[in-house]
């Protein structure tokens, strides 16, 4: 297996899979956020037993905790994808430098042989 193929796989992880993972988390977080549309309904306690909208407050707080977890995962998947992408770029640049150096050596050797 060539080093170039390994970089391709790593690049797939960096620029396809991890961003896709981030997108899943972000989308789910947005939908959980949208569930907050029930706020007014949930907060309308029956007058016979007013609870200060305790259920609505507690539910919204738990929802926020879940949103934070999901958004955090989305952000970190993006960051890790970025790190891997940078790693790939560094490897590729190094690889390109080596390839250029090898090509230069090869040309010199060819010219010596022909000379």
């Amino acid at each position: 297996m060539s080093f170039q193929v390994d970089l391709d796989n790593l690049d797939t992880a960096a620029r396809l899979d991890l961003p896709n993972l981030a997108k899943v988390y972000a989308t789910v977080s947005n939908e959980v956020a949208n569930a907050g549309e029930i706020a007014q309904n949930a907060a309308s306690d029956p007058p016979v037993c007013p609870d200060g909208a305790a259920f609505a407050k507690g539910w919204m707080e738990l929802r926020v905790q879940i949103m934070n977890a999901l958004t955090g995962c989305a952000d970190n998947a993006t960051k890790i994808g970025g790190l891997l992408a940078h790693t790939v770029d560094v490897y590729a640049a190094t690889d390109a430098q080596i390839l250029a150096h090898m090509n230069s050596l090869n040309e010199k050797l060819q010219s010596q042989v022909q000379g």
Binding site: V32, F55, N76, L83
Partner: protein, 329 residues
């Protein structure tokens, strides 16, 4: 039974009030020379006049208005796990989410994507790779499972709340109908069935019996909390498991019939019992949710993967020496 609005409840209260007034006249027929048959000292007419307000005080918005949120949460649970938390129909008219998950059935879950990444890095060897798989990739897997547990608990809490409101509405309506019927029969010869099944008493427990079983089957809140001490994790799951179990409220009641006073007092007692049952169960649900929220705050790493500080600081420095030293060897 359909949901009854505040207007419906107020109208019912008016009907009961009218029936009660007629019952008063039958119980205390106006005698010659008197206006009200001397009933003023025997019947709380002011209370009867306020029956519309009494019944309207049990009004809430239709919990069906929260169904879309329940559907959405279940779909998001599916999006992460490709498992549907609860599907209906379920007996006792328990709120269940729609099983229409849309395009999520064709999208990769976080677990699947993580496996793609593991496959992508299979030719990468060394300590850094091992650390990356162990702390990052496996971390995504573990936290996503815990997130599903939390989302399902959020959805279950909403379903319990919806059912509480629905059953409160049902029970108040039933009590009102029985009370009207009882007033109509005051002074008459026929008796009636005044036993009332109070469904609000078990409204939350009935829902948790279904949802809680699903959450437990998926590894449970205890398993999902992982490194949290057994005591803390146990208290969170116990908080949900105890919903509705500690109640001493009776699931059925008998409306006293006979006199206007008996019906009035009995009706109010049953209504008060229903209100208390609703309040107590709602408080239990709130307590369980708050405990889970606190648990998530205190144990954030179980629900959200973190990254090394070096990743955050990577920025424009392009410094990979710390994380990937072998690149530069």
């Amino acid at each position: 039974m359909g949901f009854h609005t505040e207007g419906d409840l107020r109208d019912l209260g008016k009907q009961i009030s009218d029936a009660a007034k007629k019952a008063v006249n039958r119980q205390y027929p106006p005698s010659k020379g008197t206006i009200d048959g001397g009933l003023g000292q025997n019947v709380d007419t002011n209370s009867i006049e306020h029956y519309p307000d009494l019944y309207a005080s049990f009004a809430t918005p239709d919990p069906a208005g929260m169904q879309s949120a329940l559907d959405s949460l279940a779909t998001m649970s599916f999006a992460i796990s490709h498992k549907f938390p609860v599907s209906g129909p379920v007996g006792n008219d328990i709120p269940v989410p729609s099983d229409n998950v849309g395009g999520w059935a064709n999208r990769d879950t976080p677990d699947t994507i993580v496996n793609h990444v593991k496959d992508d890095i299979r030719s990468w060897h060394g300590d850094a790779r091992d650390a990356f798989e162990r702390t990052v990739l496996d971390g995504f897997t573990e936290t996503s499972h815990n997130q599903v547990v939390a989302i399902n608990a959020l959805a279950a809490s909403l379903a319990m709340h919806m059912n509480l409101r629905r059953k409160l509405n049902d029970d108040v309506w039933t009590v009102g109908q029985k009370a009207k019927d009882a007033f109509d029969k005051v002074g008459g010869f026929s008796s009636g069935d005044f036993q009332i099944l109070l469904t609000c008493v078990t409204a939350a427990l009935t829902v948790w019996t279904v949802w809680g079983g699903v959450i437990a089957a998926e590894g449970g809140i205890i398993a999902g909390l992982g490194a949290v001490s057994a005591k803390d994790a146990g208290s969170i799951i116990n908080g949900f498991n105890n919903i509705g179990k500690a109640s001493s409220a009776e699931a059925s009641a008998t409306l006293e019939s006979g006199t206007v006073q008996d019906i009035d007092a009995s009706m109010k007692k049953i209504l008060a019992s229903v209100a208390k049952s609703y309040h107590d169960q709602e408080q239990q649900v709130v307590a369980a949710m708050n405990q889970l929220s606190a648990g998530m705050k205190q144990n954030g790493s179980l629900f959200r993967i973190s990254v090394p500080a070096e990743v955050d600081s990577l920025g424009d420095d392009n410094d990979t020496t710390t994380l990937f030293p072998h690149i530069h060897n």
